[in-house]
Symmetry: C2
Subunit: 366 residues, 2 copies
């Protein structure tokens, strides 16, 4: 038995956790850089909760609210420069994966001069601004990972910064910020979380302890399939989904992701397909691929979801995701060439060849 | 749903994990204080593995090998003075709960002047020597907790230092150091670990995520009952037990312990009953007590262990623990008066009265 576990983030998942833990901001620093997207953190009340908490404990802040979906290197350089110009000594990221991942990269770049290549190279000095993250979607799990995924035009894909330096010090997780998410976003992010926990169990770094987290995460999301399909996503379901997505983050913090993610990145980069949706479109084909060499693990995953077959899983995903995008064979060839280069490919317990990847793309969109 | 999780310890549970991770010692400091008991770390090979690893990476050390069972305040003051006198800048604790807990207290006292009362008061400056721990029994889980339990003659009991400052930086967990433990020690420590995970599920701070760890820990130990009863404790069983005990440590790091531990401390203090054995002697009576107000949780615990009734559980514990000590009603009254004062009592989801505690003592030894 071999088990590694390391998660230096204090996870506080609770109703009104920002208000209840306001005192922690005081320990983090004197002036926060708050990183958000343009709208959602204002609309769902999370930004107000944070600024109220900061005011309550007398901590100053500046707001950087320009993060778009799939943030670029230029975007995080801009935010880091803003942090430096304003003397911020810690970072609070609020949002889905994009603002949270951007916040992590800004925390690093605010302290270190790194070229674009150096940014992804994994060799850093120990200096980074402390990070607090608040997820406002139930998908990415970024609030408990050491990853920041940025759009990298040079690689024509997404590329990860991966370093323990950017583990958040604190994750404040409150389902209430997800209550008014549109159904489509709710579905896409839930499938992203599902994909994290599933991929974690299919990754070479899977271990017994992480398996416990992945199993509960997958079960909780599968128990929400009916509500997601009916569109009746109540507060109890929201609570389960954000818990499951935080668990999914803890999973990939230890295991990394697999071929599903590397394949999905091309769908997002070239077709602007939402990240969670991209994973969801590919999951059933990945199940079919893995089953050929390891039927036991697929059988176990289906058991955890309470599903009788991969076909049943595919049917649920198809109904959740709706009509698929049209993508040509030529494009799939290009995507295959890009995704085979990703580190995630070698992270699969059953490693796909270039041909396997191409076939999974075709099967997923047929 | 409310879930808190915080475990800043890097957990490395693996065969030969000391050798494989020797480089980590280099990051910890220049000179280690190694803390052990008098014999076992020499006999089970753990001390040799550590000194080999330190030599390999060129880190100096001094050895403090005087820790007895149930270490006293005087003992940890002596070790801290030795650390200071020798300029140690980090601490490596090797052993069962006693050397590991002593190592934590020494790491604190080497950096801070604290009176006996201050030592347990919970208010410290942030200075502490970094700590690496290697368990050589599968029971305490101290390698992943923020607790150091010391014998406190003033309280006529054991008292906890509890502060995130003494979370180990690294826990290196290798089942091979437990391979030659006597059966009696193996049983007592396994029951200690079982008690941690059970008490965690019965504590007011229990939460969904910690429940996953506790459940797996309890299941793994229960699956070992037959081997423990037969005395045929093979390597696979040892691996399961040390994994389960590390999980148990992660559990109580989040939940604390309950009445079982507070009641057990008197048995250890006044009758020198081994700590794990003391918990084991009390567990069935605690089950009977909790069942009256919360039968569902007891039913669940029995299900996890695959047992049909509390009587079946009690029978297994009785067979594992053998003949019980003779203790008088007068002594139980005294123990009751002491244990009712412990913080652990209020940590129970079903809180016992003084009468309940007395009755549990009597039932346990009848």
């Amino acid at each position: 038995m071999s088990v590694s576990f390391f998660l230096p983030t204090k996870v506080l998942l609770d109703e009104d956790c920002v208000k209840k833990n306001a005192a922690l901001f005081k320990i983090m620093g004197k002036k926060a850089l708050i990183v958000t997207g343009r709208h959602s953190a204002r609309e769902n009340g999370s930004l107000q909760d944070v600024t109220d908490a900061l005011a309550f404990v007398g901590v100053d802040y500046v707001l950087y609210d320009k993060v778009e979906s799939n943030p670029t290197i230029a975007r995080v350089r801009d935010g880091a420069a803003f942090a430096k110009a304003n003397g911020a000594d810690f970072v609070i990221g609020i949002g889905g994966g994009s603002p949270m991942d951007a916040a992590k990269a800004m925390a690093l770049l605010a302290c270190q001069d790194l070229s674009d290549d150096e940014l992804f190279a994994g060799r850093y000095s120990p200096d980074v601004l402390p990070i607090v993250l608040l997820p406002t979607t139930a998908g990415t799990g970024s609030e408990v990972t050491q990853y920041s995924i940025l759009t990298n035009d040079k690689a024509q894909s997404k590329t990860s910064i991966a370093t323990p330096l950017i583990f958040p010090k604190i994750a404040m997780v409150d389902a209430k910020y997800t209550h008014d998410l549109p159904l489509k976003t709710t579905i896409n992010t839930a499938i992203d979380a599902l994909s994290h926990s599933i991929e974690g169990m299919l990754a070479i770094k899977a271990n017994s302890l992480i398996d416990l987290l992945a199993t509960d995460s997958i079960a909780k999301i599968a128990q929400s399939f009916d509500k997601l399909l009916s569109g009746n996503v109540d507060a109890a379901c929201r609570a389960n989904l954000i818990y499951a997505s935080t668990l999914g983050g803890m999973v990939i913090a230890h295991t990394g992701t697999t071929a599903v993610h590397s394949m999905g990145y091309s769908l997002t980069y070239f077709h602007h397909i939402d990240h969670g949706r991209a994973n969801g479109l590919l999951l059933a084909a990945f199940f079919n691929f893995v089953e050929k060499q390891n039927p036991a693990v697929i059988s176990r995953l289906l058991d955890i979801m309470g599903l009788p077959s991969i076909t049943a899983f595919k049917n649920i995903l198809d109904r959740l995701l709706g009509e698929k995008e049209k993508i040509t064979a030529e494009e799939f060839k290009k995507f295959t060439g890009i995704s085979i280069l990703a580190k995630n490919i070698a992270n699969c317990t059953v490693v796909p060849t270039q041909e396997d990847i191409y076939n999974m793309y075709v099967e997923s969109f047929s």
